[in-house]
């Protein structure tokens, strides 16, 4: 093949058979968690494919640790992560309404002032 790329000229591309991908074999899928700084929690950032944890960490480093700060990366087999079905999202729907769990719900200043005013009389 005539190419402008000296590397491609060296490859002898004619030698290749049909470039068919074996679609029936797979690497393991891993979810990647990125910890930016000490003291911060690791956050899910994406997934990589690799044959073992060491390779998965290497792939994660090359894909998700390319900019800014990284303290550590975690990889977990995707098949080991369990989640609720997304259609069960409504089970959390009433949580924000549970104001009695919220510190801002508890306001006593008015009552104290009222009490103090009454004491003065």
């Amino acid at each position: 093949m005539s190419s402008l790329d000296p590397r491609i000229k060296r490859l002898d591309l004619k030698k290749t058979e049909e470039g068919e991908v074996h679609t029936n074999t797979h690497l393991i899928t891993w979810e990647v968690f990125h910890q930016e700084k000490r003291g911060k929690q690791p956050m899910h950032v994406g997934a990589v494919h690799a044959s073992n944890p060491e390779m998965a960490l290497l792939m994660a480093k090359e894909t998700f640790g390319r900019r800014g700060k990284t303290t550590n990366l975690w990889v977990v087999k995707s098949s080991d992560v369990y989640t609720f079905p997304t259609e069960d999202e409504d089970m959390f729907e009433t949580t924000p309404e549970k104001m009695f769990r919220d510190p801002a719900y508890y306001k006593v200043r008015d009552r104290i002032e009222k009490f103090q005013n009454k004491q003065k009389v």
Partner: protein
């Protein structure tokens, strides 16, 4: 880096929603109207899944094929600093391919099948990568203008409705801002250099002008954008709108260097719309269908990589490993 994915008329016509559950469809559309994202486990219309998959897969292929024209110049970069930047950029592009393949996989197609479809020609990549990088100035123009065009496209698409694609695009846009800046730096360096440097730069701009206009796809008058896909936030801006935004941002940055585009009709009208000569849409079609200067080479190189790396994958892959979709 990335190319265009616009619908042909035929594809738009095929959008058939009569088979979908009307209640689920309404819930799905309400969610998008409210500005919420769709996540992999959610119910979605078949056509939404199909169009998104096609678009993200094509984007992923564009990243890994897009690394080839620039990769050519790593061994011949003019100095060490430029070489380091170019290696980083090309490796970024491959990483972007990884991110996008993962996002596409969440829609239900394996990475191996996507790579196979790239090689057998079933799925495409951006047309712009079927042109050669003849000189070092091409690397500058690709880094500045092709990446600039890609960023216009990607920033718009990152406001789409599919969560995994949006997250991948946000990371990609963040990394590509460096590509753009180093490309601009490279262009300015050549433009303010010797007569010869200015000449090769002008020559590269002349050659990339048409492919850049083609980049955003056929004009709106020839390309049907299904209202459905706009409503579903799969497609967020028309081809002409994106092209106009690109010209508006980048033409002045070339003109201020006293360089030109090879088009006497290129100008901005009072209404803010850029005018340009017809960039030969027949050539666009011809190149998409395999007739470009580098189509064959790009696929040959991918096939070679597939073949030459197979013994490594065979050693690593286990026949018993069941395929697991990435989660998000």
């Amino acid at each position: 880096m990335y190319g265009n994915t616009s619908l042909t008329e035929e594809e738009a016509k095929r959008l058939n929603l009569t088979e979908e559950d009307p209640i689920k469809l309404a819930e799905f559309e309400d969610r998008i109207t409210r500005g919420e994202k769709i996540e992999p486990g959610d119910w979605m219309p078949k056509e939404y899944r199909k169009q998104l998959l096609r678009m993200i897969e094509q984007h992923a292929h564009s990243e890994i094929v897009g690394a080839l024209p620039e990769g050519t110049w790593i061994t011949r970069a003019p100095n060490f600093r430029r070489k380091l930047a170019l290696i980083a950029k090309v490796q970024d592009e491959i990483g972007h391919g990884q991110l996008l393949y993962s996002a596409a996989e969440t829609l239900g197609k394996t990475r191996e099948q996507m790579l196979e479809d790239l090689l057998n020609g079933k799925s495409k990549y951006s047309n712009v990568f079927n042109y050669p990088a003849l000189t070092w100035a091409d690397v500058a123009v690709i880094g500045f203008l092709v990446d600039g065009a890609a960023i216009v496209n990607q920033v718009i698409n990152s406001k789409g409705s599919y969560g995994p694609y949006c997250r991948a695009l946000e990371r990609i846009c963040y990394e590509e801002s460096f590509h753009l800046k180093q490309g601009h730096d490279n262009v300015v360096y050549l433009a303010t250099g010797t007569k010869h440097q200015r000449a090769i730069l002008q020559d590269a701009i002349n050659r990339w002008y048409r492919p850049l206009l083609h980049f955003f796809g056929p004009p709106d008058r020839n390309s049907q954008h299904s209202e459905k896909l706009m409503k579903w936030k799969v497609k967020l801006a028309s081809n002409d709108d994106m092209r106009n935004q690109f010209l508006d941002q980048y033409v002045p940055k070339i003109w201020e260097l006293d360089l030109t585009f090879p088009d006497p009709n290129l100008k901005k009208n009072d209404d803010g719309i850029w005018e340009f000569s017809d960039p030969d849409w027949d050539e666009f079609k011809r190149v998409i269908n395999g007739g470009g200067p580098c189509n064959a080479e790009r696929l040959e190189v991918r096939k070679y990589a597939e073949e030459a790396g197979r013994w490594v994958r065979n050693a690593l892959m286990s026949k018993n490993e069941k395929y697991v979709m990435p989660m998000a």
